[in-house]
Point group: D2
Chain length 259, copies 4
């Protein structure tokens, strides 16, 4: 198969069909997230909230009794963890995030992923996440952070990681020029900071499970920013379900023991 | 959005929003199947075939080079079992089938199901699958059938199963009147023949896996009729992918060792 | 392939290698359940509880600090829903249950199942679940039961279901003799009451999820009896984990909102 | 049971209970793999091959007719993709591999993983994969490699990656000393080369699916070495199943179109 990539291709640009988009998620222009599509689609004339109620009513071959009753049923379903109707709604995102975020994200095995390939696509120099502020090790949570280090230290680390990224990228480019395979040449790069694009799809129940874990204060700051962006979109497109989420699952607003 | 389900809705009737519907699947009016929704929805302006190509191109950040190249890429993907892009398309069906069919269907664990509850919803007298023709035991395949028994035997069995269904249903009704719980009263019914409605959702890759197994001549005739109805709709809404399926996976048209 | 079933085969007998067995689960000799194997196996010298602690310690490359600390860590893991270590233990059961139970059981999609085939194996006359007591419809829970109907009604229903099973089985036998395929002849049987054997395997986390749902008072009485038998064995082989389950997930002993 | 992990245990050392171990997988002492446990365990008196045959026989309530017939049935099962019995056997590995390998491995969503946490555990200076030989970009496969670059280039790249690892690690250590959280300090490291330990568990069917993809010549060399080590152990513990795999699925020895 000949090379299918046209000269002017750029999947990193906004998709004109997307239903919602959030940018600068990690404070730089490389980090963004789009709701590329969803089931049901707004143009289908069915809302996602009502699709859930309608799926739940299959149990008793029932039908809608109006918005108030429908919403009450939806809240009841989530409160009592009748989760299968929430599987009947799908979210499809296109996301650009550094490997340190994907490393945690892809552990969620109920999502479908199509991920940019570092074996196939060479990296560009600007494709690194270099934080301007650096967080302190939490004294109580061995795997968490709490507060920031001084701005002097932050500046110093930003400068030195910029240097590492620059020098590593120069070596990466040199290795490619010397004929080294992309899959191996990338070893020299600071991979946690490398940005990758992915299309990733999940149903509404497993989206809430993701949010429940990744909105928690114990979650790493970087993936939490993506979770916050998703929550923001979730509230727009599923007002009833996100209200139920806030009430029964969201670690920030409920007292769920799962938080 | 206004209420999408009218007051007098009956979940057994056709959904006006459905994208496709097939009836009389088992030769009676009780057996039907609808494509209730799909991702991407036709109204979204993106075809399901192109959604797959576009997901695959995430690997190399490429974009479309026109229909011919796109279709060629899609055929290549399925031939070489690059299956993840096919997970990015979803089918949501509403189906009415007897338990003998669901019993086999629900073993496919990659689908999401919302099923009518016999604990909640009482059965009606007409909710039974009573075949007019009866199949002979295959002499070579211990779990299959081959050809039909005589029409006299078929008529006799149809008559006697009709009687069983009638008498059992009378006892069921009586038990309910005597206050027995629906969940237990149903024990007296010929359950394999009881019709249940379900909403069930699956991605395009796992749909093809289902079809591959349930279109095979070894599959039981009843579920094969549902698989044929789905294949028919699949061909309408995903012409490229169904062509790839016919070429590389369909046990009826390919020489796949998986057939 | 020639018939691999020897004349004297009977998979319905107890497996001599089984680690535990419970009988008369539904009050008749047909209903039983065995723990056929588990990972880790007792003979391996590693307990299942310690296998979970050890998997959890992979996160920090830690090692055991003695039984007290290990147990405390295990309780902490379940309390805070760190569920992945609980996936590292497996239970493999062999179970004989009627279809009314399997119908609910197989909806748990995280189990692996190998189920007796009614297309392959003819049924025997004694393979039916015919309750001696019948439960009343719950006045408050549309899909539940509460209390029993009078013993007269129970006797009457037992007698009449016995008759249905007997007559249906006679017709089934006749149909087989007339050459009808087993897969279709079974339509005449009262399927909810037909006993099937299955081998089914699940990890400890998903076992607890199953128990959480099927031990609840809302669960149907029949499957609850199997859940109780499993809980009993679970307590024997995983004392720490079952203590954590009772504390944080068991709907009968905890105040989990998921119950 | 007494404590199975001694006080001085180091999770990077060999587990005395392991059933098999392979070392120097990537040519250095950091890369290794153990079969930590399996279901059925050898000490249980049941072989893994026979556990599959026995699970398959549940369909027809049959039992063993001797080794020859059993093996023939097993080959038949895999040839005709009756995959569910192969889910009844489990492999539990403990593996040390660099992130470039895990990045591909964790995309297999049917495995259970417990992975070392870089948020929790600080890295050591020697925990990097620094190849001695470097591969050329394949001229025909955009995501593959073919042959080696000159030994001069290899030496040069080895030296320079060693320097990057050394300097980055020095900065990492400094950042930790300045109080930066481990989760963020690691951004400066060449992550693709960082070694992580994981416990990962999978059933025999999904193991074969993993091998089928990761033994292929298109797979990246690094993960292929782990797949080869697993195949080697697989042949030891499941002689019949691995013979069936070689015949029907292995891309190196069969002409499966899935290869």
């Amino acid at each position: 198969m000949s090379n299918p990539i046209p000269e002017d291709a750029d999947q990193r640009l906004a998709d004109p069909n997307s239903l919602a988009r959030r940018e600068n998620i990690l404070g730089d222009e490389h980090s963004w997230l789009e709701l590329q599509d969803m089931l049901p689609h707004p143009a289908s004339g069915v809302t996602a909230d009502s699709a859930i109620v309608s799926a739940a009513r299959t149990s008793f071959l029932g039908h809608s009794k109006g918005a108030d009753q429908d919403k009450r049923l939806l809240l009841y379903l989530l409160k009592h963890r009748h989760t299968t109707p929430f599987e009947q709604v799908e979210f499809k995102f296109r996301v650009r995030a550094p490997v340190v975020v994907w490393w945690q994200w892809v552990r969620h095995r109920t999502w479908s992923y199509n991920l940019q390939s570092g074996r196939y696509t060479p990296f560009n120099e600007d494709e690194f996440y270099i934080p301007k502020t650096w967080r302190q090790q939490s004294p109580t949570n061995k795997q968490g952070s709490e507060g920031l280090v001084s701005s002097e230290v932050s500046k110093e680390l930003h400068r030195r990681l910029t240097d590492i990224a620059h020098d590593s990228f120069a070596l990466y480019t040199q290795a490619l020029e010397m004929g080294v395979a992309k899959e191996q040449a990338r070893l020299v790069l600071p991979a946690w900071t490398s940005y990758y694009v992915a299309v990733c799809k999940v149903d509404a129940w497993n989206l809430m499970h993701f949010l429940r874990l990744r909105l928690a204060t114990e979650a790493q700051w970087e993936i939490r920013q993506y979770a916050e962006a998703i929550l923001d979109i979730f509230r727009e497109v599923m007002p009833w379900t996100s209200e139920a989420f806030d009430r029964y699952l969201n670690p920030q607003t409920s007292d769920s023991p799962l938080a």
